[in-house]
């Protein structure tokens, strides 16, 4: 019976592949309903399934495909016209066939899948047709009709297509089935044909092929070859050209190969490291050669597991079409970079998240046609899928030109759901607010549809993407569209990583999260690393980068006492943070090894690896690290803030203050939470608008106020570089010029007095010196009188930094 099982299995594999192609073909057919090529291809696929299912005694499968085939043959012969309704019925048939196949795969039988409804639907759809041809033929008729139908392509195109035909070894028998004998075979029913062939040809596909005398049927049996001949450029599937020389390989075998190559790479690393200390030139040469060959082998084996992303994309046109119809939206799906390849395992893992993102875009992203017209956009929405390789990763984007996400609405929703406080929200940049959609239990759909919006969407997508070592982020322009961007490692098994040292142990950080490295000597570190609310920050090119000390997270003590600070700037969930480590060792290709359950439960390590010198190193899970370190920090600070709000009336108390000198020995304190960035501006770049000073900043005009003049102090008149504090609110920014940024202090212990002057709120003793408390509002109004009168949620000018860090 083994033989038969093999036949069934082969049948299932091929049928699934063919059905995928069928989906694409049917949707494409709607665009060009007259394409005989496509119709023939669809017809042949269904015909093949019908023939084989009859032979294998899957009666219901045969019944469904039989009526489908009838309809298709009449469509092809022009007796029926293709209407959307008929396409839907045909797609429905494909679905039924698929569930039957699934049932066969699972149980070996057809299970309880009901086919009568579909059969009835197809029959109805056929009778609606204008052509008064014979009624849906009885089973007996089929044998005659089906082969007859085949004749058309056989006569039409054999000469043209013959060169495109592929003949893998196992299909050798088909070589005999050139068009001429084909015609002789036609009168036979497929079943008889198969049975006759069975003794010499125990493998299913071969008999199936025999039953197709036309040259193209090969397509039906090809994994890569799919529906249409290569000459059909319209289909745009260049990949089938390679189908000629392919073989099927068990994925398990490839997995094993990959493992072995991983081990080889590790061993190679060890040998190369050891040999570097040797002087024997022969040995060195041999090790260099080994190095090269191992790299090439690794690349080669990785390639065997690579598949174009089109494999999962090919299902999406159908998803978009069905959803679009259902939601009465008109959507064009565009795909860029469909031949971008990635590891098969990863491809599988990305499939569901990607489908979800696409559904999301269709459902929530793209507006209904009327709304689009009102917004001055074409009625047809465009959903764009992009894939590309970028620095050792695959970047996949799902972009729509829909309504976009309004950060204000999103933030309000998050507060309303109690996911974060209004306080915390106020301090987030729009870009950060967008990432809130990945919080569990979040959905902004006004109405819960059966498509999406059940509140279990994006966080699951995120979890899935992270489980394969990828990252996800979202960008959105209200009114213009939304982009979801996935970054996926090329392969799971071997990842480039940065090895760092912390408390004399080594850890690996996957490169995918790494943005840059910053090394500060003791002197610089003392100035550049500042404290904000108990948390350390570093000013990286003016942006405040929260710092996380790896030793603190791991509960260890740093062994670096010279004051040097080494920062690995990491990106996680669209935000950046700096991980302070003792030392950076190097970058290395590492092979990820699973760790035991009790170590996984710690939630900080994504695995372990063996380094070049044979020691084991833990791989840090950057996402988990960020979540753990950054969230505790924010909550700590929130608590501190909440406490201060209760006890204090004046807004300056218990706040972190930025101390700045403004000249003439005067010091001014500015509440830190109003500061978004610190910048340096060259004096010559300051321009005048009327009698106001402005500076061009990130493509926008930033009004400036010089605090010394504003407060009547007399600082140095002209300096080359101005220290600037940027304050932003609701998309507007102003620059406050000070003489020097001095320090960040805690305003808690300040002794306050109400001795003040114009532009001040009062004064206090901060850091043992009397310090003036700046009336920020007045200072800002001096720079930009319209600052507070602008509508709260006015459209964001381009100049606003899009990645403000929470301070």
């Amino acid at each position: 019976m083994d033989g038969l099982d093999d036949i069934v299995e082969e049948f299932l594999v091929e049928s699934h592949e063919n059905l995928d192609q069928l989906d694409t073909d049917l949707v494409a057919l709607e665009q060009e309903p007259d394409s005989r090529e496509r119709l023939s291809s669809i017809f042949r696929t269904i015909h093949t399934i019908k023939g084989t299912s009859g032979f294998l005694a899957f009666n219901r499968l045969e019944e469904v495909t039989h009526v489908g085939e009838n309809m298709l043959s009449r469509l092809r012969d022009g007796e029926l016209a293709l209407t959307p309704q008929r396409t839907s019925v045909l797609l429905q048939m494909v679905d039924t066939v698929r569930s039957l196949l699934t049932s066969i795969e699972a149980t070996g039988g057809e299970g309880s899948v009901d086919v009568s409804a579909v059969v009835a639907d197809i029959s109805v759809a056929m009778e609606d047709g204008p052509a008064p041809a014979a009624e849906a033929p009885a089973a007996a008729e089929t044998a005659v009709e089906a082969p007859a139908a085949q004749q058309a392509p056989a006569e039409k195109a054999p000469a043209k297509k013959a060169p495109a035909k592929r003949a893998p070894a196992k299909r050798a028998p088909r070589a005999a089935a050139v068009p001429a004998p084909a015609v002789e075979e036609l009168p036979e029913t497929p079943q008889e044909d198969l049975r006759a062939d069975l003794p010499e040809e125990p493998v299913a596909p071969a008999p199936v092929a025999e039953e197709h005398p036309v040259p193209e049927p090969a397509v039906a049996d090809h994994p890569e070859g799919d529906g249409v001949p290569a000459s059909d450029a319209a289909g745009g599937q260049a990949r089938r050209a390679v189908a000629d020389s392919t073989i099927r390989v068990d994925v398990d075998l490839l997995d094993e190969l990959m493992l072995l190559v991983g081990e080889l790479v590790l061993t190679r690393n060890q040998i190369v490291q050891n040999v570097a200390r040797q002087t024997d030139t022969d040995l060195i040469r041999a090790s260099q050669r080994l190095n090269l060959i191992a790299s090439e082998l690794q690349e080669g084996v990785m390639k065997t597991r690579m598949q174009p992303i089109d494999h999962i994309w090919s299902k999406l046109p159908r998803v978009v079409r069905d959803l679009g119809l259902q939601l009465k939206k008109s959507i064009r799906l565009e795909m860029e970079g469909r031949d971008t390849e990635l590891d098969k395992t990863l491809l599988e893992a990305v499939k569901d998240p990607l489908t979800h993102l696409v559904r999301n875009s269709v459902d929530h992203g793209i507006e209904a046609p009327e709304a689009r017209k009102k917004a001055g956009k074409p009625a047809e929405g465009v959903l764009t899928l992009r894939a590309r390789h970028e620095s050792g990763q695959v970047v996949v984007e799902v972009a729509d030109d829909g309504a976009g996400i309004d950060p204000a609405k999103l933030g309000a929703k998050a507060v309303q759901r109690g996911l974060l406080t209004q306080e915390a929200l106020n301090r987030m940049s729009p870009a950060d607010v967008l990432q809130l959609i990945f919080l569990p239990g979040f959905s902004t759909a006004a109405a819960v549809t059966n498509v999406s919006g059940r509140g279990v969407g994006m966080d699951v997508v995120k979890t899935n993407i992270e489980s394969i070592g990828g990252t996800i982020e979202v960008e959105s322009d209200p009114g213009v569209g939304t982009v979801c961007r996935l970054r996926i490692p090329l392969t799971l098994a071997i990842v480039p990583a940065l090895t760092v040292e912390c408390a004399s142990d080594r850890y690996a950080i996957p490169q995918i999260s790494l943005q840059e490295l910053v090394s500060l000597d003791a002197e610089k570190a003392a100035n550049a690393v500042e404290e904000v609310g108990g948390a350390q920050v570093y000013r990286l090119r003016g942006e405040l980068l929260p710092l996380v000390r790896l030793t603190d997270v791991l509960g260890l003590t740093s062994e670096r006492h010279d004051g040097h600070v080494v920062i690995a700037v990491l990106r996680s969930e669209g935000r950046r943070f700096g991980l302070v480590v003792d030392r950076v060792i190097n970058t290395e290709e590492i092979v990820v090894k699973a760790v035991g359950g009790q170590l996984k439960a710690i939630g900080l390590y994504s695995g372990a690896t063996v380094l070049g010198d044979g020691t084991v190193a833990l791989i840090l899970d950057v996402q988990a690290l960020a979540r753990r370190a950054l969230r505790t920090e924010t909550t700590d600070r929130q608590e501190a803030r909440a406490g201060s709000l209760q006890t204090v009336s004046a807004e300056t108390d218990r706040q972190r203050m930025l101390l700045a000198a403004i000249g003439g020995g005067r010091r001014v304190a500015i509440p830190l939470d109003t500061v978004t960035r610190l910048e340096q501006v060259r004096t010559e770049s300051v321009e005048k608008v009327g009698n106001r000073e402005v500076v061009q900043y990130r493509g926008a005009i930033l009004p400036m106020v010089r605090l010394d003049r504003h407060l009547g102090a007399y600082g140095e008149t002209e300096r080359e570089v101005l220290e600037v504090i940027v304050y932003s609110d609701h998309g507007r920014s102003v620059a406050i010029v000070v003489e020097e940024i001095l320090d960040i202090v805690d305003g808690e212990a300040a002794v306050r007095s109400d001795i003040d002057d114009m532009g001040l709120l009062g004064s206090a003793v901060l850091g043992d010196k009397v310090t003036e408390l700046l009336d920020v509002r007045a200072a800002i109004l001096a720079a930009d009188p319209a600052f507070y009168s602008a509508p709260a949620s006015s459209s964001t000018p381009a100049g606003v930094p899009d990645s403000l860090l929470e301070v």
Binding site: D505, K593, V595, G596, Q598, L599, I602, V610, T615, V616
Partner: protein
């Protein structure tokens, strides 16, 4: 005394691989033991349970090492003495445990088996299936599964 013991862990005859730990002799079923190694370089795992001594590199495979002294509530191994690593295969996965020294493989008879001595305390009692009375000494049968699922 024997009846409740049986229901807990049936006394079995067979071969036990034995090792010493803090002066006592322990044994585990020989079929669990994959290999025994001299002291290995350990990579510590911050924030892991205390019984996790670290990770070792077993020919390219990363294996968790459990400090059995810690598991059994014994004092830490004296400075300057290197542990011996016993690699055990459980459910197809390799785990290792650190012990003081390795001893012989011993044939035991179910007839010599008794429940854990009442003097055993605390967590050790959970991990010891019982004792085999050998000539002049007791062999404590360790429940490997429990001991290594720290």
């Amino acid at each position: 005394m024997t009846a409740p013991t049986r229901s807990l862990a049936p006394a079995t005859s067979g071969q036990l691989a034995t090792f010493r730990l803090d002066g006592d002799l322990y044994g585990i079923e020989v079929e669990h033991v994959q290999e025994v190694l001299r002291s290995q370089q350990l990579t510590r795992v911050p924030l892991a349970p205390t019984a996790v001594a670290g990770l070792i590199n077993l020919r390219g495979q990363v294996v968790t090492a459990i400090e059995l002294r810690e598991r059994l509530g014994r004092p830490a191994r004296p400075e300057g003495t290197d542990p011996v690593v016993i690699v055990v295969r459980l459910h197809g996965e390799a785990v290792s445990m650190l012990v003081d020294s390795i001893a012989d493989v011993v044939d035991v008879d179910a007839g010599d088996f008794e429940a854990p001595p009442d003097t055993l305390e605390g967590q050790a009692r959970e991990l010891i299936r019982g004792a085999y009375k050998l000539d002049g000494k007791l062999l404590l049968a360790l429940d490997v599964q429990k001991a290594l699922s720290a």
